[in-house]
Amino acid sequence: MKPPPFHYHDPRCLDDALGLLAEKENAKLLAGGQSLMPMLNMRFVFPDDVIDLNRIPELTSIGEDEGLVRIGAMTRQCALERSEVIRDHCPIIIEALRYVGHIQTRNRGTIGGSLCHLDPSAELPTVAQGLDATIHIQSKRGARTLAMEDFPAFYMTPAIEPDEIVTAVEFAPWPKDHGFAFVEFARRLGDFAIVGVAVLLVVSADGSISRASITLGGVGQAPIRCTAAEEIVTGSNDSDAAMREAAETCRKIDAMDDLHVSGVYRQKLAVALTLRALRKAYDRAIGESVA
């Protein structure tokens, strides 16, 4: 048998899951299982207890309320892909999901699992950072929220306590006519991205950019919001020159070296992909069709 021995629990409501998590010393939460299951199969983790969240209906929902889109943490990636609410309000999520694993993994993988696993090259944390998501967290001690910006504590580790569960993610949609683009480079479709870029833009009638969000995934240990680049593109009279100048700032970002590619290569990719994403988002905002 591949996974190590553990006690399995499948609570039917959030309150029971929170109770178990508070009480068990060395427990792991099982969401979609597309990262935890390989880690169990390879015996990288040895939890005494596995708390399966898959039978808690209250964690699975996509809703819109008072202008905010709220997604339950256990909502599967395939449900997001097919959701009209997401298509209407946060289309960048759907564009990014195409790069998240494969059909078979998106059928199980969840948004909350993806955010908590916090792989540096994962698409959903990058998009969540770009959309300034709010993360809803609960424990027996109470509920709190955290801005996505403050969610990563360090490498692959969210800033939540051992007794806390991420219950939902909330997004404030951008104006209807905003431009967006998610662009990434990986060796093969579905592989971990070497660099991914999420861009959101609002373009005024005169062609200048009035609001911008630019986020890089795969470059640092957590998604990097490129505020300097955002400032360069915002308000410029010459949007094309500003986009080029903004993309160029990515060359100075401290990028990771790993066994796949060097940091310098990541910086070069970040420049090229940021420009590509900015142009695609800009074209969408002004109503041009994009490839």
Binding site: M1, K2, P3, P4, P5, F6, H7, Y8, D10, G33, Q34, M37, P38, L40, N41, M42, V50, D52, N54, C78, R98, G101, H102, I103, Q104, T105, N107, R108, R188, L189, G190
Partner: protein, 170 residues
């Protein structure tokens, strides 16, 4: 410490009530507990796609799911595809005719993936087929003939639907 649970799973229409260890993967349950060895196990960490089965109609990697999580679910494996008299499913026949396999190890996972994919997208183009196949590794064919088989199967299945429904579905 042995943590066990009695589960009830319907596999290819037959119900199985069995006591299993909770850490047993669905792939191992299918192969070792109920002897359905058509589901192949390659990497056992979610990369190769060989173990893909349908759970409640959705293609999933059975090595990344615990059998206990399938309690109450309907599981469909490659064994369900052939009809009476061992007649091949149109998707299998298309793989046979187009030489869409060599050693055949990855084939069950690819068939199950395409079974769901072609239901959602009965008229895919080549790019879409390649995207659907991106979650399956084949080390023999170079994928060309798998893509050809998938496109051929889509066309055969559309004709089948046309025949039974008296019209061709778009």
């Amino acid at each position: 410490m042995t943590d066990t649970r009695t589960i009830s799973v319907t596999v290819n229409g037959s119900r199985h009530d069995l006591e299993i260890e909770t850490r047993l993967t669905l792939a191992d349950f299918l192969r070792h507990q109920i002897s359905l060895t058509g589901t192949h196990v390659g990497c056992e960490h979610g990369v190769c796609g060989a173990c893909t089965v349908l759970v409640d109609g959705q293609a999933v990697r059975s090595c990344l799911m615990l059998a206990v999580q399938a309690d109450g679910a309907m599981v469909t494996t490659v064994e369900s595809m052939t009809g009476e008299n061992e007649q091949l499913h149109p998707l299998q026949q298309a793989f046979h005719d187009n030489h869409g396999l060599q050693c055949g190890f990855c084939t069950p996972g690819i068939l199950m993936t395409l079974l769901e994919f072609l239901q959602h997208n009965p008229s895919p183009n080549e790019t879409e087929v390649r995207e659907a196949l991106s979650g399956s590794l084949c080390r023999c064919t170079g994928y060309q003939k798998i893509v050809a088989a998938a496109l051929d199967a889509a066309s055969r299945l559309r004709q089948d639907v046309g025949k039974t429904a008296g019209r061709r579905e778009s």
